[in-house]
């Protein structure tokens, strides 16, 4: 089993209403100097077998990310 982390973030330029809302809420709580809040997903998986990174990429392309609105990257635990 290899520990793999997939990160999925809203594409640059695609506005992120949730991120904006959180930014507003933080300002309300008194966190003045906060900007550029963006919220994405961190997906942790254990993958068996060959080429866990390649498998993870395939999972992203087939399911985990929507290329129209999201970017993703894959990290494999050393």
């Amino acid at each position: 089993m290899t520990q793999v982390v997939v990160t999925v973030m809203p594409k640059e330029g695609v506005l992120d209403p949730q991120g904006q809302a959180v930014q507003g809420a933080l300002a309300q709580l008194g966190f003045a100097g906060v900007d550029g809040v963006r919220i994405g997903k961190r997906i942790e998986l254990e993958i068996a077998g060959e080429d866990p990174e390649g498998q993870a990429r395939a999972m992203c392309e087939q399911l985990l990310a929507n290329a129209l609105i999201e970017d993703f990257w894959v990290e494999v635990a050393a």
């Binding site: 695609v14 209403p17 949730q18 809302a21 087939q62 399911l63 985990l64 929507n66 129209l68 609105i69």
Partner: protein, 214 residues
């Protein structure tokens, strides 16, 4: 006329959709997500609303990869009529059968509200022959109903009026495929087919299921 109403785990509106279709005088048959084929006599397909697979990951994403969707794709590519309502619309976009994606509402909340819609394209089978600009009243109820995409690249069939709490691009409420045989919308026509429930405009949309294949 037999409309296949597809059931995924977490589908919620299949029963109301079935009743609405039967009101229009057609037969309705359930199709099961795990089956690779639609019922033999299927003439049109309806993907109902709900929270398929709990809306986990992205709404409609997991359902769009279910075995039954291959059969739905073949049906659509052969010119057969397909309508996706709410979660069904999300499934069609995730499956690439319609352009764009559905994102979190601008309100960042679920919205259940009767909505004023207007016909943006009178040439598809999905507006009962109403002229462009004609109005319909159909409720919405969703969390991720903001269509995002390029309106120019899509065939916009229905728009919200000035009140667009979801914040969809170009006030889009429903779009069709270029040929018009595949339709997706966030409003719930099956909730607007019975005078007792306040509106029958939904029947105009669902009647698109009964016409001949485009």
């Amino acid at each position: 006329m037999t409309v296949a109403v597809v059931r995924f785990p977490g589908s919620l509106d299949h029963d109301s959709a079935r009743r609405a279709v039967e009101r229009l005088g057609a037969r309705a048959e359930y199709a099961w997500h795990a089956d690779g084929e639609l019922p033999a006599e299927t003439t049109a397909v309806l993907l109902p609303g709900g929270f398929s697979y709990g809306d986990h990951l992205r709404c409609g994403a997991i359902a769009s990869r279910a075995p039954v969707m291959a059969a739905v794709r073949r049906h659509a590519e052969a010119g057969g009529r397909v309508v996706g309502i709410c979660n069904g619309f999300q499934v069609l976009c995730e499956a690439g059968l319609l352009p764009g994606a559905l994102r979190r509402n601008a309100t960042l909340s679920f919205v259940c509200r009767q909505m004023d819609l207007e016909v943006a394209d009178a040439e598809t089978p999905w507006t009962g022959g109403l002229p462009s600009g004609a109005g319909l009243s159909i409720p919405i109820k969703n969390n991720e109903g903001a269509w995002y995409g390029d309106p120019a690249a899509a065939r916009v069939v229905l728009r919200y009026g000035p009140d667009n709490p979801l914040g969809s691009t170009g006030r889009v409420a429903g779009i069709a495929s270029p040929a018009g045989n595949v339709m997706g919308l966030m409003p719930h026509p099956e909730e607007a087919c019975d005078p007792l429930l306040g509106s029958t405009d939904g029947g105009l949309v669902l009647s698109g299921l009964l016409g001949r294949a485009a």
